[in-house]
Assembly symmetry: C2
Homo-oligomer: 394 residues x 2
């Protein structure tokens, strides 16, 4: 039997207990929970076959009372002796995409990000569109290209119209960027025609991950009118491997910034679903930004309410992300296009000058939040390396 | 044993042989092929378990040589005697969504539609955006709300800013519209990082369906800047139940209209994938429009090549639709917003004046194409009725 050593300052203490999908050389994909630097194999430890599934979807679909019950059992389990066969070193397992993604929606919920991008993409107009403070603007992304942290990102090729050119050309993106976001995963589906109210958020949403919504700004800028981003985003979206359950985020719940004008009634709730999550963006080992989720204008509960208000159903495995998290200060901006002001103000990164991503660059986004016990919990990280384009000769 | 009577002018003769998923009171969902007014139960007739699956996805994933082989076997089968147990009246079965939808993408490939919408949505600018003739503009839609013909459509509610109002209000859409489109279904997936060239279209795409991309124009007009349509579209997309295999469309293949400027090399192919498909839009029993697919500027092969050129993978079950099919003439426009010019020029429909859809209205879109034998093949229809909004009090 094993007793897991949980240091008092661990970001993966008993107040966290995030779920992920792992495999080893000897065993296929299955569900584990992270505790300190260990992964507990839940199918073995709890004797429950839902955790022998290769994704979290079947467990997520079981609903909040099951989630609460399992969390209580795990909390007891990891503070006692555990079967040796159920405890693995986190460095000895491979992590996988933790859930099958149903529909993927990306929002645009940071006022500072939307304002910055408006100034950069549409310098001759008001930066915020008239709708922005009335509804959480969002769009559907590509579900099949959501990948787990550690997956290399191949620089995408596509059409872009470079400054001074009369016509678009084809080639590798020259303005490859990140977007530091948080993502929310739906467990309990809703029925076609039955909107989810903001205060029903915790009955449907299972947990949260860190998202890096890779963006080819040159491709995006050329293609996005009038139907929105498509190939500038669809080549890859990375997520962190550990899904932090909503129950672990109780101490992080805060009010959103004041919303003026007051949103329409369907976007109002009694519950606080602003989240005091601190992100850090590391570029080739240097922390270049610390985006504050607490400054996001729209809450994830409002995002889900908006998504379903027209009667659209939500499914187990739906992923919706916040959009780039940018604060008021320059060093809190969650995208390099903002940090370097469209490339006009290069950043010094690990001793080199950078505007957008170069081949071989590595980006890691991490996040932490207050824990119930006064310490902090961690989301881990979403990390990836940029590989050279492979289709440049098309 | 049964011999199916196939009238010479049947739209479901041996040159067509579309696949669908049906059930009866006594048997669960399974794959059938339509022949004249009969459905042949393929699991029974061919003794192949892939047709006992509740969706076409497993069969579609088997690839083109299997599709060709099965089509040849069915062609022989339906011209001879068939086991009685394998032959059902089409009126005696329930039809279901024929495939699990992976990613859903909607294009905007009709020059006439894009021009009309540009004039209506952005009266003060050039109707076509600068990118339009360089790439097939498209965006991701909501996969989970793709429904089969016959499913009632509940009028969506949402935010819209009505003429003369200072702020948006919430309520049922007052400009509910259709979009008559063709949709293409991917069978053989592609790998992340490996684009599909235009001339590889038939190795990946299994077949085609009729699509009605319901659109709440008031919700769409308010929300769509800058990230594209979201709730104005995501409440429902209807598809016809019979997937016509590409092999049945050989006689319909034509050149697209001249593309000027010439597209970039990755969008060029040797093969013709314009399609001479004639649609008919019936509104409360009156045919109000006959959209000609042959006038579409971008081919479906170009749409798929564009979707994957950035390295994005395509999956079995991916659905991509053409966007509204509108011809040059008023009576060939595939959306009511065009047909009634934003409501300014009402149409007379079954003796009543109409602009947008009213509760209780019924719309059916049908389509036919030339058959190899000189006759025609049919896609059947996608039909639905509009029910009153149910969430107007939110």
């Amino acid at each position: 039997m094993t007793v897991i050593d949980i240091p008092a300052d661990s970001l993966f203490g008993i107040d966290n207990l995030p779920y992920g999908v792992f495999s080893t050389e000897n065993s296929p994909r299955r569900v584990g929970v992270r505790v300190a630097d260990k992964v507990v194999d839940l199918a073995v430890a709890l004797g429950d076959d839902v955790f022998a599934e290769p994704t979290l979807n079947p467990f997520m679909a079981q609903g909040k009372s099951r989630w609460d019950d399992v969390r209580a059992r795990i909390t007891t389990l990891v503070q006692g002796e555990i079967d040796d066969a159920a405890v693995l070193d986190v460095d000895a397992v491979a992590m996988h995409l933790p859930f099958d993604v149903a529909d993927y929606v990306d929002f645009y919920a940071s006022e500072h990000h939307a304002t910055n991008l408006g100034k950069l993409f549409r310098p001759d107009s008001a930066p915020l569109m008239p709708n922005w403070k009335h509804l959480p603007v969002g769009y559907h992304g590509r579900s099949s290209t959501v990948v787990v942290s550690g997956t290399d990102i191949v620089r995408p090729c596509g059409q872009r119209k470079l400054a001074g050119d009369d016509a678009p050309t084809f080639g590798p993106s020259v303005r490859l960027d990140i977007e530091a976001e948080m993502g929310f995963v739906v467990g309990v589906p809703s029925t076609l025609g039955e909107p989810i109210a903001p205060d029903e958020f915790a009955d449907h949403v299972f947990g949260a991950v860190i998202v890096n919504d890779w963006s080819a700004r040159d491709i995006q800028a050329w293609e996005y009118v009038p139907l929105g981003p498509f190939l500038g985003k669809s080549f890859a979206t990375s997520v962190s491997p550990w899904v932090v359950p909503l129950a672990a985020l109780e101490a992080a719940r805060v009010d959103t910034p004041t919303q003026d004008p007051q949103p329409l009634p369907y976007l109002r709730g009694e519950q606080k679903w602003g989240l005091d999550i601190d992100l850090a963006v590391e570029w080739n080992g240097d922390v270049v930004s610390r985006p504050p989720y607490a400054q996001m204008y729209w809450s994830p509960a409002q995002m889900l309410a908006h998504t379903t208000i027209n009667g659209a159903a939500s499914s187990t495995g739906d992923l919706f992300a916040s959009g780039t998290i940018s604060g008021t200060e320059k060093n809190t901006r969650g995208a390099f296009i903002e940090l370097t002001w469209g490339g006009a103000e290069p950043a010094t990164v690990a001793g080199e000058e950078r505007t957008f991503l170069q081949d071989g660059d590595e980006v890691s986004i991490s996040a932490t939040a207050p824990a119930a016990n006064g310490g902090r919990i961690g989301f881990g990280e979403v990390r990836a390396r940029i590989l050279p384009a492979t289709q440049a000769d098309r």
